[in-house]
């Protein structure tokens, strides 16, 4: 039973990584950049929800929706102000800018909300269900898994079937050809950032519902791990983000349970390194074809 409970907790933690990883992977797929500020958008989302629900006693739904709204706007603004002017720049310049943006958000949060930890109130309450004898699963664990499944289905349908989704896939393959079709590449990139950031808000709320300690650096470590998950699954691939996220969550929980809490993170990254040595494009990564 302890084993099963670890699996469920691993999937739940992995679901959060997967939702964050989607933001990394979608942005990478289209803008070909690693948005290292993505993890900090999660933190902003969590703060917005915290203030709405704990400070102003709004219902959780209002907190979540507002948090998604704020993060969506934030994501679009970050892209327009910081990344868009660098469209033609080297990837190193973009990477450094993204890291700078990450620190900017963390320091901004410290200034606005101080570094005193806030205790986040779970948006689904504290209870749980006794599935069988010896297997108790909290509500937030179950809700997190369910939300992840819903997001995955919705995104798969969106990118597979909708006109905008097809435009996004076209942009990720060939921006010049996409423009010849009449697709506005800038708008498409903005929408990608918007979706990724809205998902980051959801991830932030779920993360802090499970681990209620909210500080300005809250998004940093989950951000890095989700990035790892995205690379693990194959950066640019949506199913890859799901598989990478879930596997990472399970590995982390098992490392904590059976090996050691202190080195669980090291184990997670060691697994990543091994996977990349064996398969450099990640589990589901496509071979990156050279373009002229």
């Amino acid at each position: 039973m302890e084993f099963l409970s670890n699996v469920i907790n691993g999937i739940s933690l992995g679901s959060i990584y997967a939702i964050i990883a989607l933001g990394y992977t979608m942005v990478y797929g289209i803008a070909k950049m690693l948005n290292f500020a993505h993890g900090d958008v999660i933190m902003v989302g969590a703060y917005v929800c915290f203030f709405m629900t704990s400070r102003y006693n709004m219902p959780a739904v209002v907190g979540i929706l507002l948090s998604m709204f704020v993060c969506t706007v934030l994501g679009i603004v970050i892209e327009r102000l910081a990344y868009k002017p660098l469209r033609q720049a080297t990837s190193l310049a973009v990477l450094i800018t993204a890291i700078g943006m990450s620190y900017f958000l963390q320091n901004g949060a410290q200034l606005l909300w101080t570094s005193n930890p806030k205790v986040f109130k779970s948006v689904v309450g504290d209870g749980g269900v006794q599935l069988t004898e010896g297997l108790y699963v909290s509500h937030v664990t179950l809700v997190t898994i369910a939300v992840c499944v819903i997001i995955m289905i919705a995104l798969t349908v969106f990118t597979g079937k909708s006109k905008m989704g097809k435009a996004m896939r076209a942009c990720s393959e060939d921006k010049g050809a996409a423009q010849l079709m009449g697709i506005n590449v800038n708008t498409t990139i903005s929408i990608t950032f918007a979706i990724g950031s809205a998902l980051a808000a959801i991830a932030g709320v779920l993360l802090c519902s499970a681990y209620p300690n909210l500080v300005p650096t809250t998004g940093s470590m989950p951000g890095i791990k989700a990035f790892t998950a995205a690379v693990f699954g194959g950066i640019g691939s949506i199913p890859g983000a799901l598989i990478g996220g879930i596997l990472l969550g399970i590995i982390e929980i098992f490392a904590k349970a059976y090996i050691s809490t202190e080195i669980s993170d090291a184990i997670v990254f060691a697994v990543l390194i091994v996977v990349l040595l064996v398969k450099p494009t990640g589990l589901l990564g496509k071979k990156i074809s050279e373009k002229v």
């Binding site: 006109k163 076209a170 393959e173 010049g176 079709m181 009449g182 697709i183 002229v292």
Partner: protein, 235 residues
């Protein structure tokens, strides 16, 4: 007023001056060929007309409308489509999805009609409409690139080396379709290294050398011109 008028454009890649003060015209209903050796600037010219590259000088007008100062993605909506060099179909998407993207700017109710026309010209694409474009043969990808461009209902179609890498029999087929399209009312701007083929179907031609127009005349005249025959027709 010609359908497409390009006047004194200059295009640079950093310090490389790829297109030097080039002017040309395409009249409605014509087939025009731009011929020239590797690196003459043919692709650069088409990319500039499509707005993907910018000229530092001059003007480009299409049916009297300025194209130089509108964003690239707005150009296809004016009826000007390009089949780019190397096809550049969306390899990870299906044939059908590629065609749908070709009709991105079109109202929904015209898509079925356009599809019918495309499938009439390229029955092969109809058979393979669920296949992923990356698994098509080179010739089929060329057909898809042309079909995709036609989905936007163009009045002027620009083709960049449609014969590249194709077996002679397929080249014949592709050129036959270009002529059919032209007969159906589509004006054609054709860029080719295969000068013989290109000039044989064209009304007029422009000969390019290292970024400059060095000669322009009726296609028949060019085909019989000694210097052209020496340089481009292997005579």
């Amino acid at each position: 007023m010609a359908m497409l008028e390009v006047n004194n454009i200059n295009v640079f890649y950093g310090s490389i001056h790829a297109v030097k003060d080039i002017s040309f015209k395409v009249e409605k209903g014509e087939i025009i060929s731009l011929i020239g050796a590797n690196g003459a600037g043919k692709t650069t010219i088409l990319q500039t007309v499509s707005g993907l590259l910018k000229s530092t000088t001059g003007s480009i007008t299409f049916n009297g409308q300025d194209l130089m100062h509108i964003p690239a993605h707005k150009i296809v909506g004016h009826g000007l489509a390009q089949v780019p060099e190397g096809r550049r179909v969306f390899l990870q998407m299906s044939v059908m999805e590629n065609l749908e993207l070709g009709a991105y700017t079109q109202p929904k109710n015209t898509i079925d009609h356009n599809l019918e026309i495309v499938f009439e010209h390229f029955p092969r694409l109809k058979e393979r409409r669920t296949q992923v474009a990356g698994t098509l043969s080179g010739g089929e990808q060329q057909m898809l690139a042309m079909g995709r461009a036609m989905m936007s209902n163009p009045t002027l179609l620009m083709l960049d080396e449609p014969s590249m890498g194709l077996a002679p029999i397929l080249v014949d087929e592709i050129f036959k379709i270009i002529v059919e399209l032209n007969k159906a009312g589509v004006t054609i701007l054709l860029v080719e290294q295969n000068a013989q083929m290109a000039l044989s179907i064209a009304n007029r031609g422009y000969v390019l050398e290292t970024g400059k127009v060095v000669m322009t005349a009726d296609a028949k005249e060019l085909l019989n011109d000694d210097s052209v025959r020496k340089a481009y027709l292997g005579a």
